[in-house]
């Protein structure tokens, strides 16, 4: 190899190497979010044992998403289960009405008790999407079920079709409303409001397709269950330590 050939090769090497090396910086933003070539898929984790029933999540959700303050409209709520010695199960949605906590149950009588946060399960096979006559309820590419308030007729078929009672008719807009995983936040890299305020990390949020997601670790470290699996809705809200009494 003479000197001229060497310099020529060197130039080729630098130019082509530089081009290849710069390529990652030119990849569009949507592709950068993919890991292992997989699409982003949002999911939610609930560690039942960690929930202390402070219902900060419920209030945060109502504030963040303009959910009516009246106790009949919820995107998320917390249920308290008290299973008594005789097998009797007492369930209540807590922190909703001021006079709800008046009933006292003697500690002796309690077999076990726990709090279960509930929200839209963002099903992979959502019955609400199936029944919506105009496609106002739809599933995004990242697996979140949303309602388009501009086209919703307010027919409430989706409310009937949801097995989890996660939907309500907004009394002001007269359209269906439900948890969106705080889509306006998570698409900007923020956490859903309820996850943000939870003091015990009972609520987790992340990308199901990402190895780095806290949700992936959560699913690896816990025995997982979903609500009403028999209905084949395939929820993307996963529960750890879920009791069989919870429906």
């Amino acid at each position: 190899m003479n000197r001229r050939q060497f310099l020529k090769d060197l130039m080729t090497y630098i130019v082509s190497g530089g081009t290849i090396g710069a390529a990652p910086f030119r990849i569009p933003a949507w592709a950068a979010t993919k890991e292992n070539g997989k699409k982003r898929l949002f999911g939610f984790g609930v560690q039942v044992d960690r929930c202390i029933g402070c219902v900060r999540c419920v209030h945060a959700c109502k504030n963040e998403n303009n959910v009516p303050k009246e106790p009949f409209y919820f995107r998320t709520w917390v249920e308290r289960y008290i299973i008594q010695q005789d097998g009797n199960v007492i369930v209540k949605a807590i922190g909703i009405l001021p006079d709800q906590e008046t009933e006292t149950i003697t500690e002796k009588n309690v077999l076990r008790s726990f709090n279960v946060p509930k929200l839209c399960n963002q099903c992979a096979h959502p019955p609400c999407v199936q029944v919506c006559p105009v496609g106002a309820t739809f599933q995004t590419d990242d697996g979140v079920v949303l309602v388009n308030g501009k086209t919703c007729l307010g027919c409430r078929y989706c409310i009937q079709a949801c097995p989890y009672g996660a939907r309500y008719l907004h009394p002001e807009t007269h359209t269906a409303d439900k948890c969106t995983f705080c889509y306006h936040r998570v698409t900007r890299g923020l956490l859903p409001a309820c996850v943000e305020v939870c003091p015990t990390q009972a609520r987790l949020f992340g990308d199901l397709n990402s190895h780095a997601s806290p949700l992936t670790r959560f699913k690896r470290m816990n025995k997982i269950h979903v609500l009403k699996p028999g209905l084949n809705t395939e929820p993307k809200v996963y529960y750890a330590s879920l009791d069989g009494e919870v429906r």
Partner: protein, 402 residues
């Protein structure tokens, strides 16, 4: 925000029994959605009665033929009103035609409805009345002449061949019409039956039960109307026709009753997760409307009366009276059936742990008065239709006077 709504929900709070999901307190499909399947059921049933004459050549029922088609039309015209009225955004309902979601049973409503109205009912009625309209238009003067002329679409051919074609067309349309009537009401049953989240609704039998209860209510209402209109226009009730129609009603009630009994036994025998809460629902909140109104008053009592008529040879006057009582009882029963399906299906929590309650409004779109108006409206439409299109050939003038 509707303050009344919130106030009403607060009033309902103490009436919750057990645990319900917090969003479940509000019953979303109220009285209007009870009226809807009731009305469409009558449409389908009345049409099936009419098709007895054309397709199955049951000549005895001929005097009810035109009446049943006009009844079907009158009720069909009212059918979309309760649906539109209950929507949160009625003005957006056209979206269902422009951008229908093909996987949605409800999205098909507009198409099933349009098919039934445009292709089946209107065409059939037009072919039946075509010759009459031409004849009437020739005899008449003034506005009626023009109404009849327009309704005949300015056709003038009354030749034998044309009449023969009319009859042939009628037969074809009726044959298309029977499955269409089945579709119309079976589809309404499917809307409920396909909701897997709701064990009270989710049943493969639902469309079939809806269909047979539709036939029952449709035949019963035509008999009812026939028995009222005939004396009003000074004609006698044709007992042969009445007996035959009542006979069909009897068989339809037996099939309907058997299907509902099968559904009931099946549920009890399978005893799935939801059985406890559903039994509680039936024995408490639905006791009056299901056990008393639907089963005892609306089903067993009319069935008993009709069996008596079959066994004993009653006088014509007594038969008339008994038929009249029967068809009214059946209407009460079928309306209760619709109530129990629609309202009953929303009164228990999908957590299967509690019951909520339904409080009917008196005024407003979801109120009793509005629904009553919707139920009266088909009769007014029918009166107008009968005025324009008399159902009994020679007595046309009589009807006009009445």
């Amino acid at each position: 925000m509707s303050v009344n709504m919130v106030q009403k929900l607060y009033e309902l709070l103490p009436q919750i029994g057990g645990f319900i999901y917090p969003n479940e307190l509000e019953i979303h499909w109220g009285l209007l959605i009870v009226v809807y399947p009731y009305v469409t059921g009558i449409v389908a049933g009345a049409f099936i009665l009419a098709s007895l004459v054309k397709v199955f050549n049951v000549k005895e029922v001929e005097p009810m033929y035109r009446l049943s088609l006009l009844t079907a039309l009158a009720f069909l015209l009212v059918a979309p009103l309760p649906l539109l009225s209950h929507l949160g955004h009625p003005l957006r309902s056209y979206e269902m035609f422009l951008t229908p979601q093909t996987s949605s049973a409800m999205a098909m409503f507009g198409f099933v409805y349009a098919w039934y109205l445009m292709v089946v009912l209107l065409v059939e009625i037009w072919f039946i009345y075509r010759k009459d309209l031409i004849v009437w238009a020739e005899e008449e003067k003034g506005i009626m002449k023009w109404i009849h002329k327009t309704l005949s679409l300015f056709s003038t051919d009354t030749s034998k061949e044309a009449i023969a074609f009319d009859n042939k067309a009628l037969k074809v349309i009726t044959i298309i019409g029977i499955p269409s009537a089945f579709l119309l009401h079976g589809y309404v049953g499917f809307i409920f039956g396909s909701i897997k989240a709701n064990p009270w609704w989710s049943s493969v039998l639902m469309p079939i039960v809806f269909l047979f209860s539709a036939i029952v209510s449709g035949v019963a209402i035509v008999i009812f109307l026939y028995m009222i209109i005939m004396p009003l226009i000074g004609k006698t009730i044709d007992m042969k026709c009445l007996d035959k129609a009542a006979s069909f009603l009897f068989y339809a009630v037996i099939v309907d009753f058997s299907l509902e009994l099968l559904d009931f036994i099946h549920r009890i025998y399978e005893s799935e997760e939801s059985i406890k809460i559903l039994s509680e629902l039936v024995m408490s909140k639905l006791f009056l409307s299901l056990i008393i109104m639907q089963v005892l008053l609306g089903m067993l009592l009319p069935l008993g009366i009709m069996v008596m008529i079959k066994i004993f040879d009653f006088r014509a006057e007594l038969r008339k009276l008994l038929y009249f009582v029967t068809v009214i009882l059946i209407q009460i029963g079928i309306f209760s059936t619709r109530w129990n399906v629609v309202i009953g299906g929303q009164m228990f929590s999908k957590s299967f742990r509690g019951l909520t309650t339904y409080k009917m409004d008196i005024t407003g779109l979801e109120g009793l008065l509005y629904s009553l108006a919707l139920l009266i409206l088909p009769f007014i439409i029918l009166a107008v239709l009968l005025k324009i299109l008399p159902a009994w050939g020679k007595s046309r003038e009589d009807v006009a006077e009445a």
